[in-house]
Symmetry: C2
Subunit: 602 residues, 2 copies
């Protein structure tokens, strides 16, 4: 049967040949594991995604989540899938065995999330948030809090959320108005309304633990006055048993363009009666603590984008191999010529190769970032830890912002490949496109990611992180130049990287000068450029691994040759456009900020 | 009240200041009209769109068209709107008064369709198809056929469709299998199944006249053997009265991503009993005849794209002017600073200016094409007629292919501007995005438009049409160089046009050589480049008109300055990227066609 989630061979290639994650097993942390365990793990993840999650995708869209007097019901098919998820400990893939995790590397958590999100993005949101809330408790909770919550959240018996957004506090979290008032018993009374809270109520779990950002009475305005609280739907006693309803009330769920089965809730804390919460970590450290979860979710959202792009590409590819329409161009005047499958038409082929180039480049990028997280944990030198942590921080906005934008593009091209059929609900690609669109918005819009990159990440450690990141790319270029088959590609990428470095310097300097507004007017294009460069790097890296295999004429020759052609396409056909994008940024034209408000018209 | 369909001032600018359509009134055809009549016409169109069509948009999506045993029902609100449409003769804006038309220029038909499509795209499909079918009858029908059908179709009493697509014949129309067998009375029995037929049945009309492509028994395979027939749902007697049900049966309508109120029908001809049709024009001329309608609809679809892009931009603009979120960057560290409306954030401003640049550039492009159609009709010299007809033919794939792709992009950016709210059904932009996606598919996908441009249009009259088109651009550049305020912009555009001419030559030559496959692998990027160049031209043209007004400091100064900033943005920020796209095409890398099928993976 044709693959419809992620390309098994390519996943193996990235894990075992490009990143060579088997090396992680040399560390103490992963010393008990080996590549066989990794393969087994991936097989199980694939089976779960294909056999259990994928069949829920259509119902997920057609039935969706429903609301009735404060209670949310998920599509019926979710229950079996969720039960299996819990049984297989799929919520806690990369967590320590001591806290109920599988103890696998993060890179495999990403590779499996890609499959789960490809199979059913809405479903994956429930498990992502459950895990994220658990991680906050694991990292910042008191011993008692861990005892009370962690086991049940990590096992999926209870759900979790992240409660930041309010009607007047979206991208600007600091504007929130939810309040916390300390009680004599040390708990806090929480009052406020949060919106756009995914999974805030649902019938997969007995209880939901909400990490809630709120301001303690008297604390300063803005982000520095924000604390974070654990607010369960049903109160949790110190012995871990559940008590009374805690007046966490979902007053509605949103009607949305996609991810219909993901309940996007408006949550009232304390409107129906007193609602208590427990302070997590220290007072006024709420933003820093929540950002731990935010960073995790941003990376997860990137992988969700990879998943839907991957599914859309494979579906389009399968369709293009089967659908007969028109004749091959070279036989267009031959009345005897048979109909051609549309994969033979150059424009369809261009779309497919572009989709492939994005999907595979993004796979390498997102897996690589997971691999860097593993290196932070397993590296023995502080210098190496710091190097890899820096790369993770630097790449987070790219993983989130660039992957999701390209995933929208790939889903769009998948619809184009299907033609009129792609626009109908008879085929799955239009749902993928609608589901995917949320990814460029939640956990910080593309614009927010771009501002994070330009305003914070680029200048980390006085630019040292960025320089070390470039060194990684240049190491691949050096290797690429040594091989006859990749020399020209490496030289082309090198030119692009030199110009990119100049672009980053220029826009980074401008952002710290009186030209700050003009610079931030180019923040999103700059993130786009950096994403292109990273993908060029990933494709060259792939080609340097594939080239010797092509030369040897080993088995899987078609696969390895495909790697070479894809690298050629990305570097020779797509990167020239990136040069144009860099020229555009380098000119630093300020039309967008200079134009008067009134001149926009309307 | 804020505008939400098309910017009245900008529409006036294009019509009266850029194109100066008042000059058309010097012709005999439009001698009785003047710019006041034109303004009055546009006011009425705007009122109809705003007051009558716009209120039907949401119901259009939520209720949609429904099917019951062969009969299609449109949303209830459509009936009043359609009645007003008929009463105002809005189906036949640019048609001769003698055949029931309003006798207005085509450019105004486009300007009003922009409004109608912006207000409710699904509704506009019904009227577009009714008109298109009428036009076929007007141009190719016998005197008797005109007497039988034309009045009722043009007045909207009866509906119309275009029946090309079959399950195995989509982009490849020549593969159709619907047959026609001649009866003794000169009629033909039609048998076959057409799919994706918009408006094939609905309760706005008493009868539907289907122009149907079919092959007469014994005629050759492929497009050269296709004839076209008028097949009414209820038979029409020679005296114009309707007779029996003609066995045109809609067996289902499609569930789709958007345009829910537009019934996309599967139509059986002759499955329920004999179904008769009348030959339209000569035998085996069906493709040529249908292409008359196809070209009309392609231009209309471009204008639909302009309409939804325009609506999405204005909605985003209004939202950005009202939504308060975060502080201005320059005050971000000032604790006393008030919240800023998001139009103040550079990245939001960039999105808005980019949307504005696309919408206004596309408005100029689509109106200009309508104006050229008017010049074909009104010009007195054959040379001029031929010049303008050539430009219309050349620009048709750009109007259709480029406008609709950019309209998808603009709707997407509108969602981004709204953030999380944009993804909900509480706001209209997600519907615009879903509705708009069909535009890149129906009436020939983007890839089909690109192939038409590269394979047919570029080389028309041995490239003479293309050369004359470049002359038009160069005339604007020459004018732009004369003005101090536009000199630099004109010089930048000139460089782009020189490189574009080289690119067109290169890819055009390749398409006629053994590199044909590689060339067609770059057809869509080439169309994209040509669209960029045309928009650069339109913006320079706008700037040359606006610059003297800015200098004079006349009223509407904000508007004219906005024109200058938008031109600056498009030419200085976006065209550099076009240079990169041209480099990519010029390299003519053939990776997309060279890669083996097996190397795509999957």
């Amino acid at each position: 049967m044709a693959q419809v989630l992620s390309d098994r061979r390519d996943v193996q290639f990235v894990l075992n040949e490009q990143l060579q994650i088997g090396d992680l097993c040399k560390s103490e942390r992963y010393g008990d594991l080996n590549t066989k365990t990794f393969d087994l793990f991936m097989n199980e993840a694939r089976a779960l995604a294909t056999k259990e999650l994928l069949p829920t995708r259509e119902e997920s869209d057609r039935v969706g989540a429903t609301w009735d007097d404060g209670n949310v019901t998920v599509p019926p098919s979710f229950h079996r899938a969720y039960k299996l998820f819990r049984e297989g400990e799929w919520l806690t893939i990369a967590d320590d065995i001591e806290v109920g995790g599988q103890g696998m590397p993060q890179v495999l958590a990403f590779a499996s999330l890609e499959l789960f999100a490809a199979a059913n993005m809405a479903f994956s949101i429930y498990t992502m948030l459950g895990h994220g809330a658990g991680k906050l408790i694991e990292v910042y909770g008191s011993e008692l809090q861990k005892k009370m919550f962690l086991g049940k959240v990590y096992s999926g018996e209870w759900g979790g959320t992240m409660c930041l957004t309010e009607p007047e506090a979206g991208s600007d979290v600091g504007a929130l108005t939810t309040t916390a008032v300390k009680n004599e018993d040390g708990t806090y009374n929480i009052t406020g309304n949060k919106i756009f809270i995914s999974a805030a109520d649902h019938d997969l779990v007995d209880n939901v633990v909400h990490p809630v950002l709120a301001r303690i009475e008297g604390d300063p305005a803005g982000t520095s006055g924000i604390s974070i609280f654990l607010v369960p739907k049903y109160w949790v006693n110190e012995d871990g048993t559940t008590g009374d309803y805690n007046n966490v009330y979902v007053d509605r769920i949103e009607e949305k363009m996609g991810i219909h089965a993901s309940a996007t809730c408006s949550v009232q804390f304390g409107a129906k009666g007193p609602c208590r919460g427990l302070l997590l970590g220290e007072e006024r450290k709420g933003m820093r603590i929540m950002f731990h979860m935010m960073n995790e979710e941003r990376l997860n959202v990137g992988v969700q984008g990879l998943g839907s792009a991957s599914a859309a590409f494979l579906l389009a590819l399968n369709y293009a191999r089967e659908r007969v329409q028109g004749k091959e161009i070279l036989k267009s005047r031959d009345p005897e010529a048979k109909g051609a499958t549309i994969i033979n038409h150059p424009d369809v082929r261009r779309m497919l190769l572009q989709m492939k180039a994005y999907v595979e480049g993004l796979r390498s990028l997102n897996y690589y970032t997971g691999y860097c997280m593993d290196k932070v944990v397993t590296s023995e030198s502080d210098e190496e830890k710091s190097l890899y942590q820096g790369i993770v921080d630097l790449l987070t906005p790219i993983c989130k912002g660039y992957t999701t934008e390209k995933s929208v593009l790939v889903c769009n091209d998948a619809i184009q490949t299907y033609g009129g059929y792609g626009f109908t609900k008879e085929y799955p690609v239009e749902q993928l496109a609608r589901d995917t669109k949320i990814l460029t918005i939640y956990e910080g819009t593309t614009g927010i990611q771009a501002a994070d990159l330009l305003g914070r990440k680029l200048g980390m450690q006085k630019g040292q992180v960025f320089m070390k990141f470039l060194e990684q790319i240049n190491a691949t270029i050096a290797k690429g130049k040594e091989l006859e088959a990749t020399k020209a590609l490496a030289e082309n990428l090198e030119k692009a990287v030199i110009k990119f470095s100049e672009t980053a310097m220029s826009v980074g300097k401008a952002a710290a000068s009186e030209k700050v507004l003009a610079a931030f007017g180019h923040a999103t294009p700059f993130m786009e450029v950096m994403g292109d460069i990273v993908l060029g790097w990933m494709h060259l890296w792939r080609a340097t691994v594939a080239a010797p295999m092509v030369e040897k004429g080993k088995k899987d020759l078609a696969f390895y040759k495909g790697q070479m052609e894809t690298a050629r396409y990305f570097i020779n056909v797509m990167l020239p456009i990136t040069f144009g994008k860099m020229d555009s940024i380098l000119a630093l034209d300020d039309a967008a900020v200079a134009i008067d408000d009134a001149s926009f018209g309307g």
